[in-house]
Amino acid sequence: MEKKISRRSFLKISGTVGTGAAVGLSTSTSKAKAAVRTEPKKIERIPSVCEQCFWRCGIIATVEDGKLVNIEGNPLHPNNRGKICARGNAGVALVYEKDRLKGPMIRVGERGSGKWREVSWNEALDYTAEKLLAVTKKYGVEANGLFAHGASGYFATDLYSFWGSPNSAAPSFAQCKGSRDVGYELTYGENMGSPERLDLANAKVITLIGSALGENIHTGQIIDFTDGLANGAKVIAVDPRFSTAASKAKWWLPIKPGTDTALVLAWINEIINKKGYDETFVRNSTTGFSELTTHVKEFTPEWAEKITEIPADVIRETAKAMIDAKPAVLIHPGRHVAWYGNDVQRARAVAILSAILGIWGQKGGYFLKSEFPASYNALDIPAAPTPKRQRVDGAGYRFPLASTEEGLTQELVKATLSQKPYPIKSWMVFGQNIFNSIPAKRDTRKAIDNLDFYVVVDVRPTEPTWYADVILPEDTYLERYDTLMTVTGWYKQYVSLRQPVVKRVHNTKPGWWIAKELGKRLGLSAYYPYNDYEDVIRYQLKDSGISFTKLKRDGVITFPAKPFLEPGESYQFKTSDKKVHLYSKELKDLGFDPIPVYEPVNDPGKGYFRLVYGLMPVHSHGKTESNPWLNTLISEPHLWINEIIGKSMGLKNDEEVIVENQDGIRSDKIKILMTPGMRPDAVYLPHGFGGNDRGLLDYTKRNISDNNLISKYTVDPISGGTGLRVNFVRLIKDEQPLSPTVEVSMTGVSAKKVSGVQQEEEQNKTFNIQPKKKASAIKEGC
């Protein structure tokens, strides 16, 4: 094809050819070199903290003449150590994303019509306060519900607690790690925190139960995980899907979804039977070992094989690997554990397994929180009032161990739908995509109809924004201050500072300012004795010995930590008797099983598959699909399906199908990925894509969100955490439901060579994955 030469290059080449003069301007693309100009660019390098996900890595932003041009990892930051993931790098594109919310707006059309008028901040805030006060006057302050998430979400949570409404909730508990935290607190008296205190780098065996490290990217954790791999760690990857972690693993255990507790109980059985536990730790630091021994007696590997479809000898072999490597066995506690609605008990099982291997405070195991050497000044503000009515979500009473700080989002939605136990008449949604995080999004949508007022604070116009009465656009994390971020559970302790690196691009405001200005209008001025959040941070640090100037300059200040116990040192656990509770009297007293039992899961039924989901390394929740630098990497999810099953249904890779769940809820067309690395009874759909984000231009425009298909969920009676892996789906092509014409069983596991191990033979365990029979007639049904 002929190359057309543009006017610009024409002129340039003309300059050299036509007149013979060398007039080439420097067009070096390198930013370092780009400084060679007549007017040198003003280049600033400003440290801050990332919020493309919630790990909060240290970053350094390069700003040229006021424009953010680059983000890199802050080498001083002990967590991400100078490195930063794809999403962190792409923060640059977030600031300049064309679909951002650019100024405050008040709705003028019907709710959901997408018609607003642009207003001043004063008008938007006055209007919002007026509406919130009207709800308060009519129904009481408790009628105001809040969904908040992220670092600036704390400002909103504080605002509601100052105001006296107990009804705030964040998805980080019930849709994420709540049940894990409760399970670990019941066992150890403390949870694993965020960032989790996992010594992956020094582990000899890394056990991942549904933790897809590598697709789930938290930079510090991946640095340690890959260092661990390089140091020869053997990975046991328990996952119905051949994840990136499974591809690095010595053992991939393609477990039947929902049966993880059975596997863990069998491991405990085997470890106790073989006397492979840490005898000293069990004797000195735990209670309930004899009850545990009796309890797991019947849970043999053979018992578990029938349930999990993992061969008993593989369960024994992997148990032996853990026994041999202890205490350098890193059993990952998981992060998003909201799977089946009995997740506290599974987390408890994992915590018990970790406990008997004695990995607490040990190299290659769980490390310890340290004592932070500084204390911050507290602002001189009144104490928050005690709410007059009980919270509607049941946290702390209906769900006895649910966090009353984070609350239960789905219960707040339910209460708004039913208007019981008392009316909820306004919502503020602050930095959270409630349509993509909370299951049963149709309930969420319907609940909005019961509201007198609905205000959204966000950076991008996601689906929940569409129905807002008022939109308050927030600065990106690169344009604002947030609270100090102090981490005591890491190899080094640190405090890091999020500060604006670039002047705000649009008529947006930081979360702290929005909360403060609303607070003033709600009569809460006493709680906001400042005009600038930088002053708050200065005041907090004034007597701490931490220099604000240094923190601002370096982005992070580190302190030594004591992550590991000395040999022979015992640890005072934060439980009532300072010991690890293998048997939980606390649970017994609340009427729950004191030691975890396996609860059977339903089979999907013919033609149906269990819907499982997970993350992709280049996207965070629903936050990044419209980021052009990330969207170009993965612009839509593929539905993973077992290759043999897919072929038997006449499917081809990348072919589009419609996915329909047990309630008849359908997706738009989704491309499929057929692979032997997927169990035959489940399909996998990556999370974080395409709901119905009409305000976003750069996204798929198709309803291919996993959460759309998660119309059914269960609720953990202990924590209130949701079980989201309880939906069954079938595939529809040309309006016809597809049904596999083969049966595939997957009772096997691959044992592969690990890097660096020279002589180990490839051991292919028994497996059986050939077509068994052809179904004569395709029957529908669940």
């Binding site: 490195k83 260092d227 051949f242 591809s247 890097s755 292919n764």
Partner: protein, 242 residues
């Protein structure tokens, strides 16, 4: 003298794509083009022997670089330190180097209308800073260094078995090496074999280079005349010196 090379440790790479985005950010690479890449292959094999492989790649800075030979203006050349670079002032955007590259490492920037590709971040390297993709790699899977120094980490990794992506048909002396103990590299080689360089033919030289240049020369002369005429018009004849 240094000779730069990179080793990609496939055992460590978890296909997070951070390298790709860091590079885009550093060089304003317009979407959907890239100077380096991670191509994710779907998990394949026969259960239970499954492999999930990703191919992290970039310009191979080949010793016998076809792109250098294909470039009609001398814009693409190999530096003494082994780095293949594009002099943007000389590049006419003809694209012949793109066809010659066995690795698909080059693109034409649609705005600048120049060819662009990885230059090993040579500006950073000369200042003692690692390439951007290496600096950001959260798995420490990219190792950059000097293979003329036998003690460098890259030299040691190559000695321990890191392989370049070459085939029996194509071996132009690439300087990107892959370290792998899971038998993943053969999957990459099968899926992304080096292409046989598509070198310029006289026909292509005419349509892509000479003909446009011919018109440019004419246009240039015309413009030169125009400039001289305008100068005359505004400044008067006496200012024009022979």
């Amino acid at each position: 003298m240094s000779k730069y090379a990179m080793v990609i440790d496939m055992d460590r790479c978890i296909a997070c794509h951070a390298c790709e985005v860091a590079c885009r950010s550093h060089y304003d690479v317009p979407v959907p083009y890239y100077r380096n890449w991670v191509h994710d292959l779907r998990p394949e094999g026969v259960y239970p022997d499954i492999k999930k492989v990703s191919y992290a790649g970039l310009c191979n800075h080949c010793d016998d670089a076809p792109c250098v030979k294909a470039c009609p203006t001398g814009a693409t050349y190999k530096r003494k330190d082994g780095v293949v670079v594009v002099d943007k002032d000389l590049c006419i955007g003809c694209g012949l180097c793109i066809e010659a590259c066995p690795y698909g490492a080059r693109y034409i920037d649609p705005v600048k209308e120049k060819v662009d590709k990885c230059d090993f971040c040579i500006d950073r390297v000369e200042q003692g800073v690692e390439p951007a993709c290496v600096a950001t790699c959260i798995a420490s899977a990219r190792i950059f260094g000097d293979i003329d120094d036998p003690n460098s980490k890259v030299s040691q990794l190559i000695a321990s078995g890191a392989q370049p992506n070459v085939s029996s048909k194509v071996n132009v002396g690439p300087n990107i090496y892959y370290l792998d103990s899971h038998n993943h590299f053969p999957v990459v080689q099968a899926a992304f074999p080096p292409k046989i360089p598509n070198m310029p033919t006289p026909q292509k030289m005419w349509t892509k280079v000479l003909r446009p240049l011919f018109w440019l020369a004419i246009g240039g002369s015309f413009l030169g005349q125009l400039a001289a005429f305008s100068t005359q018009l505004f400044k008067g004849e006496s200012d024009i010196k022979e």
